[in-house]
């Protein structure tokens, strides 16, 4: 058993405990160092685990309790390439967030760092575990740290409301997951994912369907899939920048990761005969999410909220990727998560930079003010292109993999959804770039009626006249990495290998329960013609640029009669997003009920 396996959780949590004890004694420099060094260590260890997992997934039984006769007594970490990769990526983003917060970000003794380290440890445990209840525990640990970090700015009442909306919806989701786990435990008497998968076999009945619906819905709440998505925009609008980086960059994506993990280890057996129904449902959900998210994104003037809605749209695309239920699509999901996480994190970091320098994240108020920030402007522009999945970025690789996989099973229409989402979200960010960094378009007074000016408090001390390197470097590095991962050869193949391992249920069970040696077989070289994908991506990027410039120019038909129904739909959508927790939970209930009823009906009609 690998001795490294528990360390990605133990190191951040130990550092958190130590930092908390030294709360009143450490200077800021020491606190920063004691937070950043364990993060780097964790990332390196996860990287080493990834290398080990590429030959054979690493399995660690806690307490030394190995299974007896197929009954798992203890908790295991089952580290396959996908999980280890997710853990490495998490560490990278936490590092970026911590570097951004150096010096200037106002912290409460060492407690901000404690919360961030706890968040890191929880996310690593979440991605590496092989036990369903352990997954829930780390889910809750992740959530507890996230709630506190979200409400960090206690002087702003909107922060409290946003954090409350976030916390309440996510907690309901967590308890949905727990109810689902209870159902599975009642049927199989096990909590180990491999054992549950094996015991369930291929039998599908009401209990399995309900457990599936509850667990999926609970994780979809975390992933902010429609109609569970309302909390995300609120949380991003109020959370401090380094926290938003983590929320959009990895925390939301981990909801999708959990869905993938649980589906492929447990539910693919019973649902094997009904893949068509699952596919249909997930593609529908993903498409709606992508479209609604994109539309809402375009209408925002609060930069962080705009980016939050674009995350929702891209999560819709990830759901489509998952819903295709193919290894090549899953590989695309992995690449897209990495690419999107990096560019989205970079965008949030620049937004935080703007907040630091100009005390505002209102697109209109910032009109033209960032003209002198030349290099930052380039970074922001590049990240926006990454959002459009322009060729050269990891997002393009992921997107083309997903679209190709869709084409293979006759679902090529999803290309239109990818186009629409990329178009609107990238156009929105490019519009922000044009207005803020180039002074294009109009400033105050330009927008639709009913939009309030946004007031956001500083989260840093001392507005400076330059840009601190610590704030600028993480964004720049992340964009460069997004391009690097988009161009490195062999990455697509590695992703496909990881995806195949994740989908191999029998292999997973043999490795975990029988200690079998089932080595990882690398995927074959694939030679799909890239031409069509490149053309479409370039078209999306060009269209996004065009739309952005159009919206900034005086030809934008905001009041034209033809545009009226669109404007009304958008206004209707926006009024649903009321900020009221009762509405959110009502929609949540509707979503779970609809998901359950529709799935049950589809399965029975088959």
């Amino acid at each position: 058993m690998s001795a490294l396996a528990p360390l990605p959780v133990v190191i951040p949590l130990s550092a958190a405990a130590i930092l908390s004890a030294l709360n009143k004694f450490l200077s800021r420099r020491w606190a920063d160092a004691l937070a950043i060094l364990p993060t780097i260590a964790t990332g390196l260890i996860c990287g080493e685990l990834l290398l080990q997992a590429r030959t054979q997934p690493v399995i660690h039984w806690f307490g030394g309790w190995t299974p007896r006769a197929g009954v798992a007594l203890g908790i295991s970490f089952v580290i396959d390439p996908m999980g280890a990769g997710a853990a490495v990526f998490t560490s990278l983003l936490v590092l970026a967030a911590l570097v951004f917060s150096l010096h200037y970000f106002e912290t409460v003794g060492t407690l901000f760092h404690v919360l961030m380290l706890g968040f890191l440890g929880a996310m690593c445990g979440f991605t590496l575990t092989g036990d369903l209840f352990n997954l829930f525990v780390f889910f809750e640990l992740m959530s507890a740290s996230a709630f506190a970090l979200c409400g960090y700015k206690v002087e702003e009442p909107e922060s409290m409301q946003g954090a409350l909306n976030f916390a309440i919806t996510n907690t309901v989701g967590a308890f949905l997951v727990l109810s689902g786990i209870g159902l599975l435990y009642g049927r199989t008497g096990a909590l180990n994912m491999a054992q549950i998968g094996r015991t369930l076999g291929g039998n599908l009945d009401g209990l399995v369907i309900t457990a599936f619906v509850f667990i999926m819905a609970g994780f979809f709440i975390k992933a902010a899939v429609i109609p569970f998505h309302f909390w995300l925009a609120d949380a991003h609008a109020v959370a401090p920048t380094p926290v938003c980086v983590l929320f959009s960059g990895i925390m939301v994506e981990l909801g999708i990761y959990a869905v993938l993990r649980v589906y492929w280890t447990i539910f693919d057996g019973p649902f094997a005969a009904h893949r068509w129904e699952i596919r249909g449902l997930l593609l529908a959900l993903g498409s709606i999410t992508a479209v609604v998210g994109a539309v809402m994104c375009f209408g925002q003037r609060h930069i962080k909220r705009l980016l939050a809605f674009s995350t929702i749209s891209h999560v819709g695309l990830l759901t489509i990727g998952f819903g295709l239920l193919k290894a090549s699509a899953l590989a695309g999901v992995a690449l897209y998560v990495v690419g999107h996480g990096m560019v989205k994190a970079a965008l949030f970091l620049v937004a935080g930079l703007l907040l630091h320098r100009f005390s505002s994240v209102d697109e209109l108020e910032l009109h033209g003010r960032a003209r002198e920030l030349r290099v930052t402007s380039v970074v922001f522009f590049a990240a926006a292109l990454g959002l459009a999945s322009m060729p050269g970025f990891a997002t393009f690789r992921g997107e083309s993999a997903m679209i190709d996989a869709a084409g293979e099973i006759g679902q090529g229409w999803v290309r239109a959804i990818f186009f629409f989402s990329g178009l609107l979200t990238a156009a929105a960010v490019l519009r922000v770039w044009g207005r803020v960094f180039r002074g294009m378009g109009k400033g105050e007074g330009a927008e639709t009626a009913g939009d309030k000016k946004i007031k956001e408090d500083r989260e840093t001390s001392q507005p400076s006249h330059g840009i601190p390197a610590a704030m600028f470097l993480p964004a720049a590095v992340l964009v460069l990495l997004a391009i690097a991962t988009g161009l490195t050869p062999g990455l697509k193949r590695a992703a496909r290998t990881a995806a195949t391992v994740m989908q191999d249920r029998a292999g997973y069970q043999a490795r975990v329960l029988e200690h079998a040696w089932v080595p990882v077989t690398p995927a074959e070289e694939e030679h799909t013609p890239m031409g069509k994908g490149v053309v479409w991506s370039l078209a999306t990027t060009a269209a996004a640029l065009g739309l952005a410039f159009l919206s900034l120019s005086r030809y934008w038909p905001a009041k034209h009669a033809l545009v009226r129904p669109v404007a009304l739909t958008v206004r209707g959508l926006r009024s649903i997003h009321s900020g009221h927790i009762g509405d959110y939970v009502a929609f949540l209930t509707f979503g779970v009920a609809a998901f359950g009823v529709v799935l049950a009906a589809l399965v029975h009609l088959h």
Partner: protein, 114 residues
């Protein structure tokens, strides 16, 4: 009678949800959330129950006597701690909200629309 505890679990979940959706006070809402959470306790404990089983504590009782499931009880302990801590965080948020806006009524908070 052997299905009734499950019905109780469903009812608790439902009534908790109802309370959250119709609440006019965030403290009341948090308590409704706690009620929702207790539905999972009932569910877990009902699953682990064995008729005629003793507690899984073998002090003075011979090992091997039929006992109820200890695993769900351990899970429930974890569950309770999770609930307590989430409630604490939520109440802290509610307290600060009250301090700044002088209200705890979700209907009156208009800051996050759109």
């Amino acid at each position: 009678m052997s299905f009734f505890p499950y019905v109780v679990a469903v009812w608790l979940f439902v009534i908790g949800l109802y309370g959250i959706v119709t609440s006019r006070n965030f403290v009341h809402l948090v308590i409704c959330l706690a009620v929702l959470q207790s539905s999972t306790y009932v569910l877990l404990l009902s699953i682990g129950y064995r008729v005629g089983g003793t507690a899984p504590v073998f002090a003075g009782v011979r090992v091997g006597t039929p006992a109820v499931d200890p695993v769900v009880q351990a899970l429930m302990l974890t569950d309770i701690v999770v609930e307590a801590t989430v409630v604490a965080l939520l109440l802290a948020l509610a307290l600060q909200l009250q301090k700044h806006t002088n209200t705890l009524d979700p209907d009156k908070l208009k800051a996050l629309e759109g």
